[in-house]
């Protein structure tokens, strides 16, 4: 873990309002699913830094990138950074997707795609099979999908059928279960909007798949000192404590560890 200032290398437009924000290294070795807290060096419009998964990283750490969609002041400031301007990075933070779960099925929605590029790259190198199920409203919402060519088996779904399977990503998952492309007993890694994660977790439970979710919780510090990012949990890992800090014990949880009380 470190906190350091990195010049912007370039912004790569991925379409649909999403950018790959590429910064100069050194980027410390990071496990897929870990994240960094970011803020611009100048003109940061808010107080708290914002959490982002590391999207990509040069093998030697000489650069790294983040997949960012501008939705508010923090993301907008990052997306407006000019080459040469600097960005603060604190990380890597958090607990990654479990490395011991082999040949994962990655289910993503929107910028939830971010943790899976590094994952697909690493698993590809380990000769593992990564299936990526990526869902969006239309082709434009599938920002970043082309980056997975050659390293993952890509299955896209769009609500309007403009690309790949027509329907929601959960329907795609069921379809692949039916075809035997996905089988009971395998592991699903999921990252995306909450309703999507809830739906995916349900399908997994019904079809005997293990399911790991990466949560996008509101965070203040990202390094475990504010106790602000807690979610309600259960299970042996927490020794009876009802809350868990997503920034240190997450953001990845097994779906059965999360308690929903509404």
């Amino acid at each position: 873990m470190q906190t350091s200032l990195h010049p912007l290398r370039r912004l790569r437009d991925l379409g649909g309002g999403s950018l790959a924000v590429e910064v100069d290294g050194p980027i410390p070795a990071t496990l897929p699913g870990q994240f960094f807290m970011l803020r611009t060096g100048e003109r940061w419009p808010v107080l708290l830094p914002r959490p982002f998964s590391l999207y990509d990283r040069a093998d030697d750490g000489s650069w790294g990138s983040f997949l960012i969609k501008a939705i508010g002041p923090g993301t907008r400031a990052l997306a407006d950074t000019q080459p040469g301007e600097k960005i603060w990075l604190t990380g890597p933070l958090g607990r990654p997707f479990p490395p011991e779960e082999r040949d994962p099925i990655c289910v993503a929605g929107g910028v939830g795609l971010a943790p899976f590029l590094l994952l697909a790259r690493q698993r590809h190198r380990q000769r593992q099979r990564t299936r990526l199920l990526f869902g969006g409203r239309s082709r434009a919402a599938l920002a970043g999908i082309d980056d997975f060519a050659g390293i993952a088996e890509v299955h896209a779904s769009t609500d309007d059928g403009s690309h790949g399977f027509r329907g929601m990503v959960t329907a795609l998952l069921l379809d692949l279960l039916g075809k035997g492309t996905v089988r009971a007993g395998e592991s699903v890694f999921c990252c995306g909007p909450d309703p999507m994660m809830v739906a995916v977790a349900k399908v997994c439970e019904q079809h005997g798949l293990r399911c790991f979710l990466s949560l996008e919780t509101y965070m203040a510090c990202g390094y475990g000192v504010c106790n602000g990012c807690t979610v309600k949990v259960q299970g042996p890992r927490f020794h009876g404590w009802p809350y868990s800090k997503t920034c240190t014990e997450g953001p990845v949880y097994e779906a059965c560890e999360l308690v929903h009380d509404h």
Partner: protein, 319 residues
């Protein structure tokens, strides 16, 4: 050059962490050399474990944030066994912040931490007193004095009383803490606030209300530190919205002996050390020392009351 005497403590410099905003320091050890900060203050420790409030617990507001953590902590047994050794290994002064819902709880905590060899105690008075209908210790001079006096009877290390700004007259509370024997006053804790999501017709925070911190409260904290420093003889630890060396000097000028950095450390885990690094050059550029700045606010004539102004003699008018 930055060495600071605080009660019987000698600090490397006047910059310390604020309770509940830097864990035990251990969480931040990889970002900076924490032996270089003046002191580390723990998150509030209570007798029994506390699970804390339901999420969401934090929300950013203009130039600040609201929190309703609810003093989540694993209790004194866990802290003594697991956390305190880690805190001590960081190589600087260790201050443990304690909280309780009854005087007895404060007493037990003060005894156990004194025995465990912490350097000082900070008493979080923003806690409800269950024996007094959950009235906060910090809102009643009598309860403040009782709690501080009880802690002082058993503590073998300096005791700082941490005050809440959510009162009509903070000087009355500060005097009560001094009367109770406090060795110093920490001011301020968070200002109670609220955020509302009108679309859902609900408060944003799980508990409804929360404490406001960050730059938004700095002017309030400065004013309160200044008011307190004029009516008590014990040192004041200034806290509220500090995020730069300039801010530190403003608090010292207002009468603080040392300061605590809270919310600003969320954005920059190395901030305290950066501030320590920056202070000497800032002072040198102005050709002054810490002693020149401390409590040296030019008298503000209209606001200075004639009576009860214990520090009137120290007020310096330079020009």
């Amino acid at each position: 050059m930055l060495t600071t005497s605080l009660a019987s403590l000698r600090l490397r410099n006047p910059v310390m962490s604020a309770s509940g905003t830097f864990g035990s320091g251990w969480e931040g050890r990889t970002f900076a050399d924490l032996s270089r900060v003046g002191a580390l203050v723990s998150k509030t420790v209570t007798l029994r474990p506390r699970h804390g409030n339901p999420p969401p617990r934090i929300f950013e507001t203009p130039a600040g944030m609201l929190n309703s953590i609810g003093l989540e902590n694993k209790g004194v047994d866990w802290f003594l066994a697991d956390t305190l050794p880690k805190m001590k290994s960081l190589g600087t002064t260790v201050i443990v912040n304690i909280g309780g819902e009854a005087i007895d709880e404060f007493v037990v905590l003060a005894e156990r931490f004194s025995r465990a060899g912490v350097d000082a105690l900070e008493v979080n008075l923003s806690c409800p007193n269950v024996q007094e209908g959950r009235l906060l210790f910090s809102t009643e001079p009598r309860l403040t004095e009782q709690a501080v006096a009880a802690v002082k009877r058993v503590a073998t290390v300096p005791v700082f009383a941490k005050l809440s700004p959510n009162v009509t007259d903070i000087t009355a509370i500060a005097r009560a803490a001094e009367q109770g024997g406090a060795d110093g006053i920490t001011a301020i804790n968070t200002l109670i606030g609220m955020a509302i999501d009108w679309r859902r017709r609900r408060p944003v925070l799980g508990r409804g209300i929360g404490g406001l911190s960050g730059p938004a409260i700095k002017p309030v904290a400065l004013r309160m530190v200044w008011e307190i420093a004029r009516v008590v003889k014990i040192p004041v630890l200034g806290v509220g919205g500090i995020r730069s060396a300039e801010d530190v000097l403003e608090f010292l000028c207002a009468g603080a002996t040392a300061v605590q950095v809270g919310t600003a450390g969320f954005a920059d885990p190395a901030l305290m050390v950066r501030i320590v690094d920056e202070l000497p050059s800032l002072l040198a550029a102005a050709n002054v020392t810490l002693a020149d700045v401390r409590g040296a606010l030019h008298a503000a004539p209209a606001a200075a009351p004639a009576e009860g102004c214990a520090r009137a003699g120290h007020e310096r008018v330079r020009g």
